[in-house]
Symmetry: C2
Amino acid sequence: VSGHVWVNGAFDGRIDPSDRGLALGDGVFDTLVAFGRIPFAGDRHLARLTGQAETIGIPCDPAMVRRGWEAVLARSEAEHVILRTTVTRGVAGRGLWPAASSDPTVIVSATPWARNLLSQPARLVTSSIRRNAASPTSHLKALGYLDNVLAAREAAAAGATDALLLNTDGNVACTAIANVFAVAGDMLLTPPVEDGVLAGIMRGLVLETAAQAGLAATERSLLYDEIRDAEAVFLANSVRFLCPAETLDGHRLGAGRAEVVQALAAAIYVQVREECGVDPRDVA
Amino acid sequence: VSGHVWVNGAFDGRIDPSDRGLALGDGVFDTLVAFGRIPFAGDRHLARLTGQAETIGIPCDPAMVRRGWEAVLARSEAEHVILRTTVTRGVAGRGLWPAASSDPTVIVSATPWARNLLSQPARLVTSSIRRNAASPTSHLKALGYLDNVLAAREAAAAGATDALLLNTDGNVACTAIANVFAVAGDMLLTPPVEDGVLAGIMRGLVLETAAQAGLAATERSLLYDEIRDAEAVFLANSVRFLCPAETLDGHRLGAGRAEVVQALAAAIYVQVREECGVDPRDVA
């Protein structure tokens, strides 16, 4: 695997154990899909990644990340791949206070994307873990994903496919791997970033595309009961696109408006085709 | 540096970029001081580390960790060192759901310990970041330390040496790098683990040793005002031992009972001498 991992310009691909990304989770990452070796929504992913790195004081050159993407895509045997990009504060001595001079570590890797990742129905259970609305880290795709890992393990142990996380105020935040949307009448509802939510790239595309499916997109705090009682609930994730949520804590979720959710997903597939020349549904 | 890092039995010391410790902060760590190459409170550190690994479903063999400690200490040029041990879920494919069969990664490294780390006075500012009392990760020494890194950066920007973190309920939790204690009369107060606090090894030693200094140790939720108005406030950390807190948000903290805090610290130094044959205060 590591032979296909690009680290700071080279494919020798091993990490120094003193890297703050490993030692302290001191970094951010991004996951996107490149169809036909073209990153879908690459500009948005790159802007979010470098912006989040800057937010935590890590200088990240977008041109460097693009070079990593190009190098990994050129070497990839698969045509459609999940590109993961990691940016850390780099190698430093121990302790929280980093040397100001450390160079960031940029890591890019690819794994094949498969059509069966698309639109998988989700069965949710509510996690015992709350998302911290009072931490900037909750808004970042930060390396410290242990809460999500533990929530995913809880879900698996309960026979579910993903976990719904409420935030520390008791409102709906997201799942372990996706943003959450609810359809109520002509409204498409999703929690605001301030509720401890990552500004997912697929979330942003859904919000911008909703009107094409006749839905009025609204970001506002959502109660658990609003998810449970919605006409339709779906998850948004840059690898899996839009996935219908079928159950929540054993309760069957609304199955109405399926055609609206499908229209919304289709409008996003069209954007992929326009940008990458491939419709994700047509991938073998 | 990496030549002195022990990774799963060898000193070649580089990490696979697919290691879940780096990719997802999926692991825990420990920091202790070995005086005269003998880990102080090694049994406690080892029990907490392996217990926390088990809590998140990572099998961690204590004998393996001890082998790492011994190998690193045998190779160390410095006699008194900070030993850092990291245990991750190991190398795995992408995604949150790990293959059940992955072997953990155990990393041990040493850096010299210096006497000037002892009892450094602290100037605190309250962080804007809250510690998540509703996450199991808050009780773990998990790799995802970004909240602490950002809090430490806030503190440094404000000219302080460390940041006080309240929890999501508004009570006192800890600092970016230490547990917090307040002296009020004959009471020694510290927040309970349930308030989003790591069960620090030095914290445990302080609680057990308090009676020797005439203090009744009590774990209970603490208000910000109780810290501000305490007769004395100190921080506890396994590398720095007991450090008096001098200011909080520019307010001068209580300077009373200094002799009691010093007696408590001295009683812990005696434990180091008994266990390791070295008094930390006598290190050159």
